[in-house]
Symmetry: C2
Subunit: 302 residues, 2 copies
Amino acid sequence: MKLAEFDSWMSAETERVERALEAWVPADAPAGLGLAMRYGVLDGGKRVRPLLVLAASQAVHGLPAAALRAACAVELIHAYSLVHDDMPCMDNDVLRRGKPTVHVQFGEAQAMLAGDAMQAMAFEVLTPCSDDPAHSPDVPPALQARLCALLARAAGHAGMAGGQAIDLASIGLPLGEQALRDMHHRKTGALLQASVLMGAACGGVTPAQWSALADYGDALGLAFQVVDDILDVTQASATLGKTAGKDLDNNKPTYVTVLGLDAARRHATELRDKAQSALARSGLPDAAWLSLLADKVVEREH
Amino acid sequence: MKLAEFDSWMSAETERVERALEAWVPADAPAGLGLAMRYGVLDGGKRVRPLLVLAASQAVHGLPAAALRAACAVELIHAYSLVHDDMPCMDNDVLRRGKPTVHVQFGEAQAMLAGDAMQAMAFEVLTPCSDDPAHSPDVPPALQARLCALLARAAGHAGMAGGQAIDLASIGLPLGEQALRDMHHRKTGALLQASVLMGAACGGVTPAQWSALADYGDALGLAFQVVDDILDVTQASATLGKTAGKDLDNNKPTYVTVLGLDAARRHATELRDKAQSALARSGLPDAAWLSLLADKVVEREH
């Protein structure tokens, strides 16, 4: 019963995010830039980060209009990072979400610009203003500022971009579990945790609840990456919608290469349990979707 | 007298911006990322945008702490755009501010990440929060949100990134003056205008003053680009600190190729006069630095 309800909540919310992104990311941005941006962010992806924002907001009875904006902003940051990550000077990947990557489709220069514009757009979406056609007066300015603060820090040098720099520098190096964890805390974990916290910021929480949700997001973020590393070696490209085995091919350290497959699987389960107990500690009564999302992250097959 | 005072105001404010950037852009960001970011933004550039922010804020008696943050944020966006613009897939330039460009010094992947992290950092700087060591409680959250809104729109698809996309698409094409103006409105003008408006947002202005300052920023932004195009053909690389004549070499349309050198010079003067009369229309009594900045932009030799 609960699971069926969860599935229909997920479909409805994913659909709402798609529609909002579709409306906000402009097809008519100059010289094909809008088309490249839309190609990079629409019609694809599991939308894990938006769902985390929306589930967290629902758990704290957050402002729906603010949560939808936060959900789209986080996804724009995630999508831009994939566009840049796939470029020849980074991972040089040609397949993403079952389609040619943005630079394959539109050229490298346009891909770089589209990623840049998507990052800016995330902050545009978070700050509706009265001289803007998409203005919605229902996100208080203080909340807009808080959401920008959380997102910028998760995306920047201390978060995602910093993690990617470590990733880049670690190719071919023997990385220990601690160094690997630090890299993933930043590279994947920061934005997943920020998704949870941006959702929480849309409502009212106590400092203790905030800290419990931060722990939930932290454990879930690492679990997500461990599972990603497992799927990279156990699944075919067709299932993943991206090139499988590419971390191994690129000689990148992963949880599987560092821990081995069985221990990586056990670790993913431990992290899920850790996320669940942090969630229980928050004492939030309406956190069912957050709990089921943690299960889903660990049990997913692509 | 006024000119000497202006020069010492410029030196003092530039110094203040340098110190703030020095303090905010972290040397210890992981895996050399901080070094690449600092290389891209410290010790270089004319700091025109920060000076516009600070002059506009002073003209409206704006909050100094907010204006300093806005000044650094705008410069971070400008500096990131140069880092990405210089990369091989864009302009492929090896010299900037008299030094090797970031990708020459640190590699393409690190340059792309540094640019990405600098953009995020602009929004971090605008949103000091209480869980942040650099917290200053003296920027009201509503102002933080307003500054993020102005900056994101100037940097994104409708502004700078959109202008770069047009630039990219226009190589080798016969562009008319109107199309050239549209490109530069976005590519250079949007961020220069936003600098003025972000400074104005730090204080209180009437809608009529806001609109006059927007017109000032608009004319000044175009004047800046016209002069850039003139200097590109009349000055040597050593004076510019970047590769001279590269627009011609790259077969890019410029004001000089479209209007001719003499008409371009006349046009720059007209635009300066337009900026000055918009400024006069604002009726702001303390706008002397904005007025002298408009002269400086047109009379500069590098």
